[in-house]
Amino acid sequence: MYAELECKTNFSFLRGASHPEELIERAVELGLPAVALNDYDGVYGIPKAYWRSKRHKSLKLIVGASVSLENHPRLTLLAQNRAAYGLLCRLLTASHAGKEKGKALLSWQELATFLAEPPAQGLFLLAPLDSDCHRLQKIIPKKNLFLTLHRLLDGHDAERSEKALWLRSRFQIPLVATNDVHYHRRERQRLQDALTAIREGAPLQKLGHKLFPNGERHLKSPEQMQALFKDLPEALAASLEIAEQCRFCPSELRYRYPSEWIPESHNAQSYLEKLTWEGAIRRYPHGVPEKVQEQIHGEFALIAKLQYADYFLTIHDVVDFARQKNILCQGRGAAANSTVCYCLGITAVDPAKFDLLFERFLSEERREPPDIDVDFEHERREEVLQYIYEKYGRHRAAMVSAVITYRSRSALREIAKALGLEVGTLSAKKLKKVFSEKAAASESKNAFQLTEELSEEMSGFPRHLSIHSGGFTLSADPITEIVPVETARMEGRTIIQWDKYDLDYLGLLKVDLLALGMLTALHRTLKLVGKELHSLNPEMNDAPTYAMIQQADTVGTFQIESRAQMSMLGRLLPANFYDLVIEVAIVRPGPIVGGMVHPYLKRRRGLEKADSPHPKLEAILRRTLGVPLFQEQVMKIAIDLGGFSPGESDQLRRAIGAWRSSGEIKPMAERLKKGLIQSGLTEDYADRILGQIAGFAEYGFPESHAASFAMLAYASCYLKRHHHAEFTCGLLNSLPMGFYQAHTLVDDAKLHGISVLPVDPNISEWECVMEKGAVRLGWKLVNGLHRKEADALLAARPFSSFADFLRRTSLRRDLLLRLAGGGTFSCFGLEPRTALWHALESQRRQQPHQGDLFLDGRYEFPPSSASSFSPLSEFSRIQEQYGAFSLSTHGHPMMALRKMLRLPKLHTQSAKQLKNGSHLSVSGLILVRQKPPTAKKMTFSTLEDEFGFLDLAISPQVYERVKDTFLENCFLEVRGKLQKETNSFSVWVSDLRPLWTPQNAPELFIEPTQYFH
């Protein structure tokens, strides 16, 4: 028999050509008793391999790593036990510390120090034949050191064997046979070659001997290895001997959450219970309802059983810190299903009120850690992160990594490059065309087919590690004993080598601390209006707010501001908070693909009967009119009608999520169908339900998550409706965030009669401020102005004249000219062109060689020809403001264009007065271009003018005809047919034309938001 002790997965970036799971499956297929994964400088692939190996009891997974040592070939280290694994992780962490990304390196001194520690007794060191055996023998116990011998049929086998035998007799180091595996099957040699080409930055044609000479570095069966090593059976036996002694299993990894701050009289569970009951009294001031008490007791029991109390306390601690620092935060996701989380103040949705399903959050059968995501104000999340680092120390807290993988397009690009087809960084639409042309002209045989095949194989391969948007890991023990920690590219950040899925595989806990721009905007707005978030209409029943929402007047609000959401608002006409929950959830790929949108809308309007052929189904789907819209409903159907246990229903939910990629769903779906039929539903109806559930394979929201988001959506709408000026001010100060750019927010505010004042050197602050009910724009909106420059400017105030401003500030030339052109100095009574002319002169005077001895800095404008410049036209005025601020306080560009050009008289608002089906022609600015994958190749866009918005829908046929015009111009005249549905209006485009030809195009291009797939 034989155990393979040297395998590189594709986490040995651009070297290994197989996924960890593939290696595991192949090892099982070949009948290997054990396989060791030892990636370059890390244990990246271990969780995935462990997850897969759990299915196969016959295979032992050995954990190791290939370590880079200074002036020496790489060494393989294998962990025999938990202590040795901890040491390996620390050693790997040290090899990454202070090094460039991807350039981990250990010094001999460091290696010797680590190997001198007692846990090193549990480490095997496999050294290649060109190692410094003499030196290695000094730093590792003899029993733990082996020399690796490969038989790779590359013409050097005899030479290697000779050397190995000599080394064995000279140093008395035993030999161990390995195959230096880089891929699970021989067929992957092609991909490994291509990866080498990418790594070397040269096409395959130029690599020659840099490639492996053959495809022998694949996993081999014991029989194949026996044939290769028939002269050295002891080398094969050594592999088994090592494998036998490696008893460490990743399942031994367990976090202990930091708990030193728990009061002495409590343990984690009792303290959690205490805090929860205290919170419950605050949440339910009129007494905690019995049902809630029951729920809390149930949750406590499960938390205690699964020992997650520490985790809840940690999240509570973080949230508590944020509250103390007045940082807005709110839990999202499945955590909103937990009453404990609600009582602890982690989430804002009362699960009892919405009858939410706790099992969606935590279940015993699943035995997986709960996932609590908390949103913080995006500008202040760093404070929370730093608090965690400070409180727990960097050795106990690190961010989770995000594995960036090759997607189909990037894989295609890289493989094409490896084959010598340089396609550059072309846009998606051009990539395929250029690639086809180049492939046809290539000397490679079947270049097109090869590239497609290999890029498909490469798709999903890890490319590099990045920082996860908010995942944190905490531990009572040093985290480097659990997983190696690397320095991230972002200063002051460290990341672990595993992503959130890896933590899931190993059953480890993580905290998701996410940044949400809307929370920042809400906080700023609330500060301006002097209110608290929870005091804003707690019943969430403000009629004017819902009236505004029904009009789809939601620019700038949370979640319901997108083109698709606005269109849905006009049809769904939300009238209460639960409608808003549905609104948030319904415009998602899941419900759209599952075909749930139209039935729901029809039922809502009474055009279709909200039938539920079973009383249990009626209870579950009553609130969504018989249509399953949320994951929890699917789970409840499975429990109440399908005969699933709560835990099984959660497994069903997960299987639905991986509908296309795994085969798990089939037996579950059949079981569910059977259960539904047994419960008395017809087969036809059961199929219909299953079809709708299949939609959840696409992205869909759980009800709890939708409810959390709906609360923020309501708060933002309420503030927009009742404090629009302050809301706009808050939004502008929180940019970049949300769906729209500053100019849209300003135009929307002006449409609502709010006065927006331009930047004034004597009044404006860095941020936008409120000024007698109007919004005064701040310096932060000036393109290219840095905070430091603005601070210097603010410190020099007040300015008596433009000359005074120029004398006492030292803004960069480009900035000053932009500001002058944008009319910033009109407060000094200067026309933009006059200001520009004076600014030009002052700028040259400030240069040392232009100094005038006699002026002594007391510069005043000499009389000049400035007055002879014609004043700016209305359009130029707007154009210049866009140049300076990316928005205009003078008006919408369309307002000026209407006077300059012959445009259709119809505008976005008057168009809405036409009859359904009317043909129309309307012009405006393209704000959004969108091609959702769920829309059957339809393209959507939003047209904006000085009166409002109008949605555009472009069929694939029309798009093909007009795409160049559509993509290359921002101001368009649109022809088409009006489609009206209650408050939702859209134009089915039949033709588009630009408002001007490229020759006479004014220099104003406003980049639309694009969502192309």
Binding site: Q205, G208, L450, L817, E841, R844, R845
Partner: protein, 427 residues
């Protein structure tokens, strides 16, 4: 001064030829990166402006060149008219200031954008700005552009000189009937000596040249000259090697095709050169000498055996043994030598199919080797992006030779039987 500007939008590499052709119209020619300027005011006694333009149009048409023309009193205006069209300086866009600033090397004028913002759209508008207000805002460039616009500041005319031709001619005292090659060789040697001196001074190597035999001018037949072009296999800096190569080549040619008439002289014209980085000869090293001797040998072998039979080779980055070297023109291209297992010095092209018969290996042409031992295999597999190959090589000791033999699938289908080939013989 009257300046005609020809603005060649496309293919600026043709400018040199166009400028050379324009010398027929005016001796005062200037060249910029994109245009040719002709001063035609002084040529009025030869052509009228109209004729000149007409002839230039014909020249452009005949050579299939496309150019925009501009005619004005100074190069800047001529270029601006050629670029923007029109005939009035006042109507030219303000961007044309860059032409006035540097007509022979125009760069975009940074101030143009600002002028646009100020509503100054044309040069007419620009002229209205008082001169004194420009330097404090646009510095020297602003003022210079202004003055050149008013013709107050002339630009120096960068005179165009066509590229020189390296040519040497040696004549007999009187036309001589050639019976042996020796006198010609004597003439050639003199001419080559001068050529090499000129090239050496320019740090250049000779890569190609033409030899012209100038025949009797008074002869009745039409042929006045016989031209032979010789391209050297490697650029040469030494007279000796070129002489011997030319000797062989010309001798052979004259034997095959004797000269039609008496020879007046011989000229050599350099057709192509290569840079000579080591123009400074190192007297203490023989490397250069050896290199040239080597080049000369390769060149002469090629002359005799043809370029397919003698050539320089360098290692190529290929795994396939027969493709692991490539012909090279540059003897400096040495490639990267990789440590491979022992390879035979002699490779068979193509490999020879073998059959095994007991202890014997038998080739299709009935050669036989009795093998005594074999080592291997060395498995080579790759180049899947081309045809792809998969071979198992063995080092076979026979009673007479050491052979390099491989097995490979006979057909392209999967599971094809494997055949045996002799690929090389170890020395």
């Amino acid at each position: 001064m009257r300046v005609l500007c020809l603005l060649l939008g496309e293919k600026p590499e043709r400018l040199q030829s166009l400028a050379e052709s324009c010398l027929a119209f005016s001796p005062q020619i200037a060249l910029s990166r994109e245009a040719v300027f002709l001063e035609i005011g002084a040529s009025r006694s030869l052509f009228t402006e109209k004729e000149c333009i007409q002839r230039l149009k014909e020249l452009l048409k005949s050579a299939d060149w496309k150019a925009k023309m501009g005619l004005a009193d100074n190069p800047a205006s001529a270029l601006a008219f050629a670029r923007y069209g029109g005939a009035s300086v006042e109507q030219l866009p303000v961007e044309a200031l860059s032409e006035y600033l540097q007509p022979f090397a125009p760069e975009p004028f940074a101030g143009a954008e600002v002028f646009r913002k100020l509503g100054v759209a044309t040069l007419g508008d620009f002229k209205k700005i008082p001169r004194v207000e420009l330097p404090s805002r646009f510095g020297k460039p602003g003022l210079l552009a202004y003055e050149r616009l008013l013709n107050a500041n002339q630009v120096a005319w960068p005179r165009f000189r066509p590229e020189e031709k390296i040519q040497e001619r040696v004549d007999f005292d009187c036309a001589a009937q050639i019976e042996t090659f020796e006198p010609v060789f004597f003439l050639l040697k003199t001419a080559f000596q001068r050529i090499f001196l000129r090239l050496y001074a320019r740090r250049q190597l000779l890569a190609a040249f033409t030899v012209t035999f100038h025949l009797n001018r008074l002869a009745s037949h039409g042929t006045r000259a016989r031209i032979t072009e010789i391209r050297l296999p490697l650029p040469q800096g030494e007279l000796k090697s070129v002489l011997s190569l030319s000797d062989e080549r010309l001798r052979k040619e004259l034997e095959l095709r004797p000269l039609e008439d008496a020879l007046e002289g011989v000229s050599i014209t350099v057709a192509d050169t290569a840079p000579n980085a080591n123009a400074q000869r190192d007297f203490f090293s023989k490397v250069e000498e050896e290199r040239e001797a080597w080049s000369s040998l390769v060149g002469r072998l090629q002359e005799r055996l043809g370029p397919q039979a003698a050539f320089l080779a360098a290692p190529a980055p290929r795994l396939l043994p027969e493709a692991s070297w490539k012909k090279t023109l540059d003897e400096k291209e040495r490639g990267t030598f990789v440590e491979t297992p022992l390879r035979p010095l002699r490779l068979l092209a193509p490999p020879l199919r073998l059959q095994r018969s007991g202890d014997w290996l038998v080739s299709a042409d009935y050669r036989r080797w009795r093998f005594t031992s074999f080592r291997g295999p060395e498995k080579l597999q790759g180049e899947w992006w081309l045809e792809g190959f998969e071979r198992e090589y063995f080092h076979v000791e026979t009673t007479t030779d050491a052979l390099w033999v491989f097995t490979a699938p006979v057909g392209k289908q999967e599971g094809s039987p494997r055949g045996l080939w002799l690929h090389g013989v170890y020395d």
